[in-house]
Structure formats: C-alpha cells, structure tokens
Symmetry: C2
Subunit: 348 residues, 2 copies
DNA sequence: ACGCGTTACTGACGCGTGTTAGTCGACCAT
DNA sequence: ATGGTCGACTAACACGCGTCAGTAACGCGT
C-alpha cells in the first residue's frame, strides 16, 4: 500500500526542491516563480494526488486555521435555541473566507470549567467564539487576561473582551413601542431567561425604556421570568394571569411566547382579540403559530458572520471594535391588534 | 515574553528525559514508571503550566483526534432541522469519551463538491459523519471506495458504507397504525421532503406498509410532498384539500405538519375534530402546538451518539455493524381523535 | 574586467511531539 | 564469578512542512 505523497515526492516528481513546492502550494506572491515552473509543480501534485498534511503545516506555521465555537449553555438552552444553527452557518462561512474551519465545543456551564481553555493553550484552535458565557466564569476571566483571541457572542459588561451581539435593547424597545402605538397601556413582559443572563437583562431594559419614554411606569407585577423553553413561558403566563391584568404582553423569545400563548388559550383569553403578543427572535415557525406571531427578527446568520469576522481580524491582529451591535427588525403579523378590536371581539 | 513551555522544559524541570515526560503525559500503562517519578513529572508540568502542543502531537502520532460532521444539506434544510443541534451534542459527547473533538463543515450540495474530501486527505480529521448526503455525490463515492472512516447518518442503500439512522419505516408505520386504531380509514400523507431523500422514502414506505397490513390501498391521490419547512406543508395541504377528502393525515415532519395544520384551519377544518394529524420528529415545540401534536419521537441525541460511537469504532478498527437503526416512540397528544368524536363535534 | 542587481531557485534548520531500540544498574539463580 | 532478567530510564530518529539565508547564473551598465 503506497504511502501518502509528501511535498518531497512532489518536488522530485516536478524536478524542483521541496522549498519551491511549498512556495507554489502556498501561492506566495512575494516570491517570483515563473509560470511554467509553477505549472510543473501543480501538475506533479495533481498527478500524485498530493494533499498537504495539515498537522505538519500547523506545526511549522504555528497556526491551526481552526476557530472554536464554545457553547457555554445548558443542553435545554442549546436545544431550544432555534437560531443557533444559523449562527453556526454564518460563523463557518466567515471562517471559510480565510481558510479557517470551525470546531464546536458544547460545554455545559456546570461542566469541566477549564476545558475550552485547553483548546487555546494546546493551540488546537487559533481563537474562540464564546456563546452564552457567564460573567463569573473563572477560566474565561483568566483567558481574557492573557490576551488570547476571543470574541464573545452576547453581552458581558465589565469584561475587556471584544463582543458581538444583536441590539437587544433597541429590538425590545421597538417591540413594546409597537404595542404602545396600537394603544395598549398595560403591557406585561415575560423574559426569555433569568435576568442573570445579559440578553434577558437587555431585552427587559428595552421594555422598560419604551414604557418610560411613553410616560408609563414599569410595574414589577407585570414582569415574569421565562427560561428558554415553552414550558417556562406557559408557567410564567399562568403566574401573570393569576396575579394581575393586562391587555398586551412582550415575550422576549418566540419559543417562550408559544408556551405563553398556550396558557392564554387555556385561560380563555384570545390572541390578539383579548391580549396582543409580541415575541423575539423570529424563528422559522413563528409565521405559522396561531395566530402568526408578531416578533422581532434576530439576524442569526449575520450574527455568526460578524462574530467570525471579528475573531479572524483579532487573530490576524487587525484592529477590531470592542463591541458590534447588529440591528433587529420588527415583523408585524397577526398576534397584535388594537385594543378597540379587543372590545369588539369580547362583545361578540 | 516567555515562550510556551515544551515537554523539554518539563523534562529538565523534573530532572528526567523528554521521553519519560511523554510516557507520563500519555498515561501509558505498558511502561513502568514509579509513582514518585510520575508525580515529579506531573507537578513540574503543573508548575510550568505545560499543555502539549496538539499539532505536534498530531504530526507525530498520525492522528488528529478530530472527527468531522459534514452537513450536506441546503441552508433551508439545516435551519429547519430542529433536532440537528441535539444530534451534534450527542456526537460531541460520544467523541469526548475518547478524547475527540468535533469539527462542523456545512457544505451545501450544490457547493464545492470535494471540499470535505480535503478534510480527510489532509488528515485534518480522522473520520467523518456525513449527514444528508445524496447517493450521486461523486466525492463521497470516491472516498467510500478508498476505505476512509466514514459513517453516514441516514440511509444510503447500495453504498457499502456504515450508516446510522432512525427506524423511519417502523416509526411511520406505528404512526399510521395509531390512526387506523382510532378508526380512520381515509388517511392522507404529506412527506417531509421530496422522495429522492431516503428518509422521506422510508417514512412513505412505513405509511404504505401500515395501510397494506390493514387491507387498505395506498392511493396516490392521498399523497403529497413536503419540503422540510412549514410553507411547504401549508402548500401541500392546500393541494390535498383541493383534490380529495380524508379524515386523518400523517405528516412526516412536525415542522411541515405545523404548516399543514395552518392550511386546515384556513379551510375551516378543525384538528382533531374534523381531521386527525400525526407528525414526526417530536420537536420541542410540538407539545405546544394548538392542539398539541401527536407525533413520533426521534431520538436525536442518541442518534448523534450512535453515529459518533460507530465512527470511533471504525477509526480504532474495531468491527462495527454496517447499519444501526434506532427505535422511535409514538407520543400521543391532542391532535388525534376517533372519527366518532369528529361526528360529534361537527354536530355541535 | 568588474561590480551590482535580479531572477530562480535550494540546503538545512526548526516546529514539539511519539516511539523504537537501546543503556545501565540491580537483583537473582546457578 | 557468571549469565540472565527486570526495572527505570534515555538518545536519537521520525513525522511533514515553513522559511531563512544563501547561491549560482545571468544581464547590464561602465
């Protein structure tokens, strides 16, 4: 069985030195190689079925051309994240533009703490995108201090690491403004997650900002916490219904919103006739909810791309902004209506 | 700035040779190392913050400890696959048990054909799990012929490559038997995808088998094709409604089913009062559809695990079965009912 | 004839590790 | 004393490539 060909084999096949082969294969423009020599090398490589041995090249060049995506989330959180795959695709596409590949490392927060640290320290990856980390992650703090190429996907105030995120505050504000514009005044909020998560904090902040700008108080009795999945939305809505009244609700996650809508239905409240609902994320199924969900579109693919580009810039030591915010877009569908139509339908 | 420590540094710090360090770090049991020496090496490594340089170790050992997950699907297909992330988690967990990591390579079918081939040939990955390939993929055929470690996630008849899949035929059959057991006789079917996809073929075969076993013909007029997403289910259901009548439908995908249910609603048909619906996949949101969807649970995480284990066995040259089928489970919820209750509700 | 630059290469070192074939004592049976 | 075995280690090569420093040939102006 023939050994896999090495650059030395290509060199002797083409009648040049191994160095020349290396220059040709890496397409170095700073070295002059006459077209005919280049061609001779290329066709020799082709003939032999030569493929550079990537570990060897990593060793010699000191760069692995791999970026890691660390999923620092609970399994439930990952499974429920309907846009994660899109983000991954965006990341991979950005990586590919510079010949990088993406390694995915799912690491539950309660798991082995410094496991992704090894990815960098062993130079298995040239940089990391960290999704869903917590501020108190000790290994993350250590890595950040050592100036490793890291980009955080999300928000992590007080940490001097570049981050890429969706403008959660503005998106949530826009959602609530939509409800206000329809004439709603008692607007409840169910968060997408516990408020120790910054995305939940930010969306809640947008909710409060919108209310404040309209001269309305943000009442604690109108706020409940969701936890990524539909059951949590269902439970949160039941708590809200048992406690107070409202004519609209901003649910900071489409998935949680679906659970909440279910609870509304069970309570005999109709959407949007009795209660208007706005979600967040615009998951592919949102348009097929009953009623179709008005929501805030989150550019998942673009988010991944932005994170990838930022990380690659950081690896190549190009300067990057410390924080990138991507815009959101309000998608109006059937789950929101004016309060007047509510009176109409309750009269029926 | 101090260089990263190498095994040579650890060796001199511990007062042993580099070879001994290597033996200790790799925990080789076939070499006798007294506990005190082992401890001396370990604490020296600890003191210096030593982490083996993974490209170097890959070069020397000839193994990358990386497996690739190739997503040979269209972006829409990937985004719509609600269980993909779970499969990835299962794969990663299986990989971790043997110290492997997972590299994800999204490659649209119409993209660069032999791009994932390079992953193997350059020894960037020790093996591949290929998800959603097509039988006519030329580079896949070439790789299969060359005896590379490959496991296909799905069904690819006629190709001598190990594969891991869910028992689509049995699952679909069970779903339709459930409808038959309720008393339904005119049962339609909307596939999850075009029937060039083997998963769609298999589920359709299960549908036909169940009907056949009950002595019923499988009428072409009762069959429509879906295409991964909710809009396709919506369109397929509209075509069915325009063409024929039925009192139940098996939709071979929860996502497609949601679109179909929307079309039923628009046509004034109620679920399950007028039409019973069974889905497939049991996506996390299925329990929160209106009505909660009766469906066939697909063990996504276990599927990923099984694929990972099969691939690792293959890489380690342990014998593996050429085909592994995972069982499904029928989850009965609210979208199915007996025809008698249909008459009841239409009477109301 | 000479210096100088340019073109087109090449020799050899280094990257950090795994591993084979040994070395050197010490201990034991003969 | 001698041969042999075993434990504990090590020297040195191999892995395949990137890259620096260098060189030989050649042209060209003076």
């Amino acid at each position: 069985m023939p050994r896999r060909p090495t650059s030395a084999d290509v060199a002797s096949e083409a009648g040049v030195s191994r160095t020349t082969v290396s220059f040709v294969m890496n397409g170095r423009t700073d070295i002059k190689i006459p077209p005919e020599t280049r061609q001779r090398v290329l066709s020799a490589a082709e003939r032999l079925g030569y493929h550079p041995h990537s570990p060897a090249r990593q060793l010699a060049a000191g760069r692995s051309h791999v970026i890691g995506l660390v999923l620092r989330q609970t399994p439930e959180q990952i499974a429920g994240d309907a846009v994660l795959v899109d983000t991954l695709r965006g990341l991979a596409s950005a990586a590919r533009t510079e010949g990088f590949r993406v390694l995915v490392e799912p690491l539950p927060p309660n798991g082995p703490e410094s496991s992704f640290e090894a990815l960098l320290r062993s130079q298995h990856a040239d940089g990391l995108v960290i999704s869903g980390p917590r501020t108190d992650d000790p290994s993350l703090l250590a890595l950040a201090g050592e100036d490793f190429p890291i980009v955080i996907q999300g928000n992590m105030p007080g940490l001097s690491v570049a981050s890429v995120d969706v403008d959660n505050v503005a998106g949530a504000r826009r959602a609530v403004e939509h409800l206000l514009g329809l004439g709603h005044r008692r607007i409840a909020c169910i968060t997408n997650a516990a408020v120790v998560y910054t995305a939940a904090q930010d969306r809640l902040a947008g909710y409060r900002t919108a209310l404040g700008a309209a001269g309305l108080p943000a009442l604690d009795e109108l706020i409940e916490e969701g936890a990524f999945d539909a059951p949590s939305g269902h439970a949160a809505m039941k708590r809200l219904l048992a406690r107070t009244t409202f004519d609209a609700v901003f649910v900071a996650s489409d998935v949680v919103a679906l659970g909440a809508i279910g609870a509304l239905r069970e309570a005999g409240r109709r959407v949007p006739a009795d209660v208007s609902v706005v979600g967040f994320d615009d998951i592919p199924l949102a348009a097929y909810f009953d009623p179709p969900l008005t929501t805030v579109r989150l550019p998942a693919y673009e988010l991944g791309q932005a994170a990838g580009r930022a990380l690659l810039d950081r690896i190549a030591e190009r300067s990057i902004p410390s924080r990138t915010l991507l815009p959101t877009e309000l998608i109006v569908r059937g789950s929101t209506a004016t309060p007047s139509s509510q009176r109409l339908s309750t009269a029926v």
